[in-house]
Point group: C2
Chain length 408, copies 2
């Protein structure tokens, strides 16, 4: 992927020509602080869009609204998003409030009804403080601009228990043009397979039909947002949105060819990077563990094994303790409901074998310990049952996580 | 069930006529302590037996051996069990050692080959210290007796991170006879649906064919051992064994009639009690929460919702914090993969409504808080989608659990 330039030194979506942002404080949490909590993403040029959403039966109102918008229309102008309140489990008030947010920002920016997406993240079960939200939207509309400063403020405004901003910019050249794909995200808690409690907004200056954009997004999700786990909890609000405003003057018409492949790679790079930033900033974690499962009967079996291990409290606690307790790994693999023969199990920490055909390599024990002391390490498991594979980024579980989540 | 006498003041299996026990210390953990770690259960009269085992693909050798024994023969004389080492994931050495344990105790007690079950629990992945195990078996054989003292020592010897002994005795009268069913168990970590890291041994003085005994055991497991969760981890060693020695002189021939029904109730009462003792003594827990899910499309859906909630780290952390965070409960219910309409969800803490048809009953908030402060409370969820139901006993998740399981 040498034709991609991946820049972690990204200010986020303002890196994409034609996108302007704002991040403001309107005290949605009601704590009297000036914490940034409301973000606007805006493109004066109309965009096509694609989205992927939580599969939770209990969905926040903004998720339902975004899905409806995606079915109805294609001329989008951006996103209004808030942190501090999920606008979930509040009955019919939820949809009323989500629609009011959209209307206020659409009127303020002078764009058509139904052209702004709405996203919320934060505490479930409390109505939005709409007086403060309304004041915040007025303030945000007044300061929307295409500057690194507002772009970073917007990226900060969607954070909840995250400890750091999550932005990424990827540029790629095709023929005589340079294109940009940039993203911003929030993560931290309720992070698990099938989307995390996460919002991710991705923008590009390519033009592309919605259906093509959706295809590009869909192929990037299984290996990014659906391949991370912090605590195994699936949220009510998970949303990934991609906006393409066509400012580059180049339109991608078909899902084939050199430009298409580069664009797919760029979107994948952005989403992989945001997913990695999310898991690395999991609530109170101390370690990121890459689980690479190979040799499963099917990819689905490999995923089951990876998730059984990555969500095991005993495994995660032992990672926290830097204990190379491979017995818990083997036991979790066995409990996954996947088909394999334990007497053929290969397992290693990094490149140091632990089990070879189910037999312990005890002479390596000191080196296992070295590896699990690292802040990031890899566990490889080969089930020797087929060609299925899955890669999952997981974390340890700490006393800090439990204490942090005792109450909100 | 007024004809059952349930006695928590039980010394365990010696309460059943014809059963003798021993509990000895042989330092299986290699820590130089005199902690009890080897137990013998013995009946001079031959027994029929039934068993239920872990569904983990990675099974400890003793589990495989017990399953083979149950298929082969019916004249059993008891169980040899150790704590401190699971005899799991040690390759072919595991079966060799399990068979040696059986042979040593059979020779010592003068009973036929293949008449003693073998169970192990403890750390995975280390070979048993067979020299010390052999010494322990010799010591145990010499002190097997039908006394409360040895019965309690045996119940203590199978404990690992448990903080207390788990025994129960149930007596019931039928016509002119009094029958006894008694049990002992260990639990504590790796406790979850589909059997916990648990051993449970149940004995009775009824006589019954193995197949009938198996049926009675099978009907009691879904509502007892498979309806508890501490940490969602399925162990390599889970085993429940029932032994029937016929000392009462009464033989149950058919799965019908008054005696059969009373026996079923007695076995259920023993297993429910042991399961409850296991979950109540979960590692470092502070609360037991009874989740009663009703109105699901199917019982399976109800079970999914109960387990999704009972294994959610966020839910369990909030219970620890005594925070009535029903939003996390609703979100976990929605993530379970069960079919229901969130706008029909009824949820209550104890008898205090939280959601009625999906609408918050905010005026009750102070009373929710009172309930979640209790050491044991009930959460009721009615999905209003059908007649399916499931009851799960779950626990909170504490910083103590994580710290305790950092290393072994």
């Amino acid at each position: 992927m040498e034709h991609l330039t991946i820049s972690d030194d990204s200010s986020g979506l303002a890196d994409v020509p034609g996108f302007a942002l704002a991040g403001v404080a309107c005290d949605i949490r009601g704590q009297g602080t000036d914490r940034l909590d409301l973000a606007v993403v805006f493109s004066a040029s109309p965009c096509t869009a694609a989205g992927v959403f939580t599969r939770n039966v209990v969905k926040a109102a903004p998720v339902t609204l975004c899905r409806e918008l995606l079915e109805r229309t294609s001329d989008f102008h951006g996103i209004i998003a808030n942190s501090g309140n999920a606008n979930a489990c509040v009955g019919s008030q939820g949809m009323t409030d989500a629609k009011t947010m959209a209307k206020l920002v659409e009127q303020g920016l002078g764009v058509p009804t139904g052209s702004m997406f709405v996203c919320s993240t934060g505490r479930i079960g409390r109505p939005l403080p709409m007086d403060r939200v309304e004041a915040g939207i007025k303030k945000a509309v007044a300061c929307v601009e295409s500057t690194p400063e507002q772009s970073e403020r917007a990226a900060d405004a969607i954070l909840t228990s995250d400890t750091r901003r999550k932005t990424i910019t990827v540029r790629f050249r095709h023929e005589h043009n340079v294109f940009t794909v940039a993203g911003m995200a929030k993560g931290a808690g309720m992070i698990e397979p099938n989307m995390a409690t996460m919002l991710a907004f991705v923008a590009t200056d390519l033009a592309a039909p919605s259906s093509l954009l959706q295809g590009v997004l869909d192929q990037s999700v299984p290996g990014s947002y659906n391949a991370i786990t912090v605590d195994g909890d699936m949220s009510t609000n998970d949303t990934v949105l991609v906006l393409a405003n066509g400012k580059s003057g180049v339109r991608l018409e078909k899902p084939s060819g050199g430009l298409y492949l580069k664009f797919c790679q760029a979107v994948r790079a952005v989403n992989n990077s945001l997913a990695e930033k999310i898991v690395s900033d999991g609530e109170k974690i101390t370690k990121v563990v890459e689980l690479i499962i190979t040799g499963a009967l099917t990819d689905e079996d490999a995923g089951k094994v990876a998730r059984s291990i990555g969500n095991s409290l005993l495994v995660k606690s032992s990672w926290y303790g830097e204990d190379p307790n491979w017995g818990r790994l083997a036991s979790s693999a066995g409990a996954a409901g996947a088909t394999f023969d334990p007497d053929k199990l290969n397992l290693s920490y990094g490149d140091i074998p632990v089990l070879v055909n189910g037999v312990r390599q005890e002479e390596n024990a000191a080196r296992w310990k070295e590896i699990v002391r690292r802040g990031r390490f890899t566990v490889r498991i080969d089930l020797q049952a087929g060609d299925g594979e899955f890669r999952l980024l997981a974390t340890d579980l700490t006393e800090g996580y439990v204490n942090f989540n005792r109450s909100e």
